[in-house]
Every structure is written in C-alpha cells, then in structure tokens.
C-alpha cells in the first residue's frame, strides 16, 4: 500500500534521511519509531509529498508521488504533528473546506462529514470554533479531516503528542478502531504507544532504518528473550542443577544456557518469595528468614514462542527432582529492542540481559532504569510493592490450601508478570 524506496533528504549539510526503505501491506498498522530528530517526520512528509525526496521514490497504491501526486494523495489521510488547524473556523466549516479541497460534491461531502463527526465523537462540538476546543478535540478534528475522503491508508505523525492520559487513551482507541480496515503508519517516540497499537515496527535512527519487523520478531532478534528459571538448591545438589542445565541445553531451539548460584538477595521480590517459603516451611520466624542457596538459570531460545520449551523444562526438572520455584518467559521489551537497534542505549540494554552480568542475581533490580521511556517500563524493572504483596498473598493461599503440590510451577507469560 505504501512503499518507501531508498529515499534521501538533505537540509543543507544535514543528511536527514539516508536511504530509508520499507513497504506496508494493506491492513497493516506500522509504527515508525525513533528519537526526536531521527528522521521520522521528514520521512512522513515525503510520504505525504509535503516535501519531495532528493533521491528515491515513494509509492502510494500504484502511484508514484513524483509523477502522480494527486492520485497518490487521494489514497492517503494525513494527520500532521501537532495537528495544525485553522482556529478561527468552526469544526463543520473546516470539514466542508477539506471536502471541497478533495472536490467532493455537496451531497457526498455532507454525508462524509456526518460520518466522521460520529466516528470521531465530534457531533457535540461541530458548531464550535476550533480555537475554543481542547487539545484532544482538536486532535479528533484533525483525524476527522484525514478520514473525510475515506482513504485506505492513514499516516499519523505523533497523534498523542501533548495529550493528557485520558485523551491519549481515547485517541489510541480511535486509532485502533480505524486500523481495523485501513493501512496505518504511525510515527511516535512513545514506545508503549507503538507496542500497544502496532503489528509492525520500523525503527529509524540518524536517518537510517535500524530495524524493521513485528515486535515479537524484533524482540527475538535482540537475543535478550528466553526462559528464566529459579530454584532453591543446596550446595550439595549442584550436580542435579548442572545435569538439568545440560538437558535443557540439548533441547530444541535453545541457543544458550547460563546459570548462577547465589544467596537469597534482600530487598527484592525474590527475597519476599524466599521469606514466604521459609516461613511456610517453619524454618524461620517471620522477619528472621535465613539466607538459602539459590540456583538461577536463563535459557536463551531462538524461537519467539517459549510455551513448549517451558513445558519441556518443567518436565525435565521433575525428572531431575529439582523443585523449580520460577519458570517464566522473559521477552525483550520494546525499550530493549529500541536500545538494541539504535545502539544509543546499547550498554543499558545489555545491563538488562539476565545472562550478561553473572555476579548479580538473575532477578535483582537493575542499578539504574535503562532507557526508561515510560513509567510502565520502569515499574516492570523495579518490581513494585504491589506485586510483592500480590505474590505473598498467592504464596500464603497456596501453602494453606495444598501442602502436597508438585514442586514445579508454570507461571507468568511475560517478563515482569507476577511469578
């Protein structure tokens, strides 16, 4: 639907876009990710022919924007960054103006305006001047004007920039709804937004495409994902753990197994789990939990889906009489993918890799929050007390209900999920 082929753009000495290429299929919702100044907006402006590329070409549908700009633009709806609008115009008048620009006959225009007013929840403010509307409403007016000619492709440049959380939520819902029957290219530097909305991610840095693929593909390509295991294992049981690690290493799809031993660390969710376990087992009084030896292991796998691998590991642990207390998938977050792709935060990304720092317990919180683009991401990394409390409640409930449960557990579909 949208093909960007080796486009270049220079502004004086600045080579802003250097051979960017990607292609979007019909129905795809893609996120164009990058830091400020990475070349996202310049790329989008070239797609929408607001500016022309110095080299390379952009095709929308069958039409090259150089030779058939008008036909190409009829297939595109464009919401520019910061939603520029004529503030002195009432909403409905503005939409009529946009309809006239597309040479829409009056009857079609009226019908289309009615449709977009409903779809973008603008009916109540249709007679108000745009300048008097809140930022969220202005964003909707921008979207409504982009949708007016019912284009099969939408290009949205940072659609939630500057909105409050409620407006962000509303705009995302609307974009998700619109994406049901359209190709959408969404530019953003908010990673969580792209993670929530897009099935394809194109990462741009320094005017160059650094990564392109689905979020799960990109996460797998970083090599930071896999399965995390942990168990209490006395020093004398090292041989069982090593044997289990060897069996896991031989499993299909496993590319690397790294294991480490340590004492129960304090101040983290893992210590909470250990303490609860010890109290339950009567080994220590509350508040005086003894340190125990912990075996932790990170299994790196080639595939994106670790469900089968986790099941195999659980069965192998049972066979080796290793009571696993934690088996969970750890997928690279988009923050890690982004840092990995752009290299700018590569060191931070490496710090978050469970197998990269053997001296630190696998589940210990990082010394600093790596490339914390969102509070959600930061919260996942440091494991807040809410999660600890939930975990303790679950452990207590499990202890009182069933003492003779099998030792291995299968928990948590995602990294950061409650174990």
């Amino acid at each position: 639907m949208i093909v960007v082929d080796q486009v270049h753009k220079r502004f004086g000495n600045l080579h802003a876009v250097q051979g960017v290429s990607f292609a979007l299929r019909p129905g795809q919702i893609a996120g164009l990710l990058g830091h400020n100044g990475a070349g996202k907006t310049t790329t989008i402006r070239m797609i929408t022919s607001c500016i022309m590329p110095d080299a390379g070409c952009v095709r929308v549908g069958e039409h090259d924007t150089r030779d058939a700009r008008h036909q190409a633009m009829r297939l595109l709806g464009y919401l520019p960054e910061a939603t520029p609008l004529y503030h002195e115009m009432p909403v409905e008048d503005y939409l009529h103006y946009r309809g006239r620009l597309w040479s829409m006959p009056r009857k079609d225009r009226t019908r289309a305006i009615s449709r977009v007013l409903e779809r973008c929840w603008l009916r109540d403010v249709s007679l108000r001047r745009i300048g008097t509307l809140s930022k969220g409403y202005k964003q909707r007016v921008g979207l409504a004007s982009a949708l007016l000619h019912d284009p099969p492709a939408l290009v949205l440049d940072e659609p939630t920039n500057g909105l409050d959380p409620t407006q962000v939520h509303e705009t995302r819902s609307l974009v998700r709804e619109l994406a049901a029957d359209r190709t959408v290219l969404l530019s953003s530097h908010i990673l969580t937004e792209v993670e929530k909305l897009c099935d394809r991610v194109v990462i741009i840095a320094g005017g160059v495409v650094k990564a392109d693929g689905s979020p799960s593909e990109l996460a797998a390509a970083t090599g930071l994902g896999g399965v995390q295991l942990a168990a209490f294992a006395p020093e004398e049981d090292k041989s069982s753990a090593h044997a289990l690690a060897a069996v896991i290493a031989a499993m299909e799809g496993v590319t690397r197994v790294s294991q480490q031993w340590g004492q129960t660390p304090g101040g983290h969710i893992w210590a909470e789990q250990v303490r609860a376990e010890q109290v339950r087992a009567g080994q220590a009084q509350a508040g005086q939990a003894q340190a125990r030896s912990v075996w932790s292991c990170f299994v790196q796998s080639a595939g994106a889906d670790t469900q089968a691998l986790r099941e195999q590991i659980a069965l192998a642990a049972l066979a080796h009489r290793m009571p696993l207390h934690l088996v969970r998938e750890q997928r690279a977050t988009l923050e890690q993918v982004f840092a990995h792709a752009t290299d700018s935060a590569g060191a931070s990304a490496a710090n978050t890799a469970p197998n990269s720092e053997p001296a630190r317990p696998a589940l210990a919180p990082p010394a600093s929050i790596p490339h914390a683009a969102s509070w959600d991401a930061a919260r996942r990394e440091v494991a807040p007390s809410e999660q600890q409390l939930r975990l303790r409640a679950r452990l207590d409930a499990a202890a009182s209900a069933e003492q003779s449960q099998p030792p291995a557990t299968l928990d948590g579909p995602r990294a950061g999920g409650t174990p």
Binding site: F11, R45, T48, S49, C50, I51, M52, R69, H70, Q71, M73, R74, L75, L76, Y78, P80, E81, A82, P84, L85, Y86, E88, M89, Y97, R98, R100, L101, W102, S103, M104, D108, A112, S145, H149, D150, P151, P152, D181, R182
Partner: protein, 249 residues
C-alpha cells in the same frame, strides 16, 4: 474502501475551496474588519481634504492619484498572512498533502485576497455618491469608473507582491515589511530618474503614478492594462515557483 471524489487531474482542483476559505478568513478575524475600517478612514480623509472642495471641479482625481500611497500599508496587511502563517502554524502540510496543485493554491489565495480588496473598496463608493449629490452639473461617471479600475489593478499588483513576499518566509511581520519596502521602492522609482538617461527611460516605463493618473482622467490605455496584468502574472509565477521550490528544498 472508496474515494467518493472524481479522479480528475484538473490543475485548478481545489481553487474554489481556497478562494472561499481565504475570503471568509478575513471576516472571521478582527484584522479584516480593521483593514476595511482603515481603508475607509484613509480614503475618507483624502476625500474630505482633497476632493470635497467648494467651487472646485467635481472630480475624484486627487483620491485616485493618492491611491498608490493609500494602499501602501493596506496591501501588505492583507497579504502578510497568506503563506507565512500557513508555514508557521503548519497548516500548509494538510494543504500540500491534498490533491491541490501549487498553481491552484497560489491563485486561490490571490483571488481570495483580491475579493477582499473589492469588499474593502465597497464602502468607499459612498464618496462618489456623496460627490454626485452635491455636484452641479451632474457628475461624469466615466473617470470614476476608470479610476476605480486603476485602484483595483494597482491593488492586485500590490497584493501579488505581498503574496510573493509571504511565500518566501514563515514570519508574517517580515512578509509585511518586505512588501512595504518593495512597494515603497516602486513608488519612489521616479526619484531614480536623475541617475541618467537610461534610468529616466526605465523609471518612466516602470512608474505606476502616471498610469494611474491616466485612468483617473478617464483614459483607458490598453498598454497600461497590459502592463499591470503582465506585472501581476509575472509576480504570481514567481510565487508559484517559490512555493514549489519550498516543497523540494
């Protein structure tokens, strides 16, 4: 998915929409009304002082002769926003991303501003009406009609220069100043005649004052009309080139 529009490749597609928006935008903002008031005030003052004189011929030549100077602050005020504001606020982006050609965009904005110029001149019709009321014998309408034709042609030329200045910058104040100085330079061109014979010839051919004066006398010289239209067309062609260039820059 359908596009409910005709797939035509009319180079002036979107022209009426732009004309309409530009015209109404003047009336939606205080600036438009202030410009109209200022025009009426300035022309009213000249009319009261230089035209409405007892025992003098009932003619509006003084007013039309002064129109070059009267329009000097008004034309830049009308045109300064046309492109500069669009570039500054970013509203040019949805325009450029719509199936509207650059000629349609530039000519649409120009036509919108010319229509506003006509609206601005409308209240000044009260001056010839007043003159007709007191004139004896009856007022000769011919020179007044040709005089207004001169004001419109001169105004169109000023507006085209203002449009070009506005297309060159994203700063409306700068566009105003550029237009003002360009027009001032043109009006003061006769002063350069002292530089030599060649300068005298050039300034004589390029001067605006004598041409307007001819119209005000009731003489419609086709050469003058062609001169104005050629200048306007050339300046608009430059504006189209500038807007195109900014798309490629």
């Amino acid at each position: 998915m359908t596009t409910s529009t005709s797939p035509g490749l009319n180079p002036l597609a979107g022209f009426p929409a732009i004309v309409r928006r530009e015209l109404w935008s003047y009336f939606r903002q205080p600036a438009g009304w202030i410009i109209i008031a200022l025009c009426t005030l300035l022309m009213g003052v000249v009319f009261a002082i230089g035209v409405l004189l007892p025992n003098q011929p009932a003619t509006m030549r003084t007013l039309f002769d002064a129109s070059g100077w009267l329009l000097l602050p008004l034309a830049p005020a009308i045109t300064m926003r046309l492109f500069a504001d669009e570039y500054r606020s970013g509203t040019i982006e949805p325009l450029l991303a719509s199936p509207v050609g650059t000629p349609a965009l530039v000519l649409g904005k120009f036509a919108g501003s010319v229509l506003f110029l006509l609206c601005m001149l409308l209240p000044t019709l009260v001056f010839p009406a007043t003159l007709a009321l007191f004139a004896s014998p009856a007022l000769d309408a011919g020179p007044i009609i040709t005089g207004y034709l001169a004001v419109v042609l001169l105004g169109m030329l000023y507006l085209s220069i203002g449009l070009l200045a506005s297309s060159c910058t994203s700063n409306a104040t700068l566009a105003f100043m550029l237009t003002l100085f360009a027009l001032l330079g043109w009006l003061l061109l006769p002063a350069a005649a002292r530089l030599g014979e060649w300068a005298r010839v050039i300034t004589f051919r390029a001067s605006l004052g004598p041409r307007v004066a001819d119209f005000a006398k009731g003489v419609v010289d086709l050469g003058h009309v062609v001169f104005f239209l050629a200048c306007i067309t050339s300046v608009l062609a430059c504006a189209i080139a500038v807007v195109r260039l900014r798309r490629w820059k």
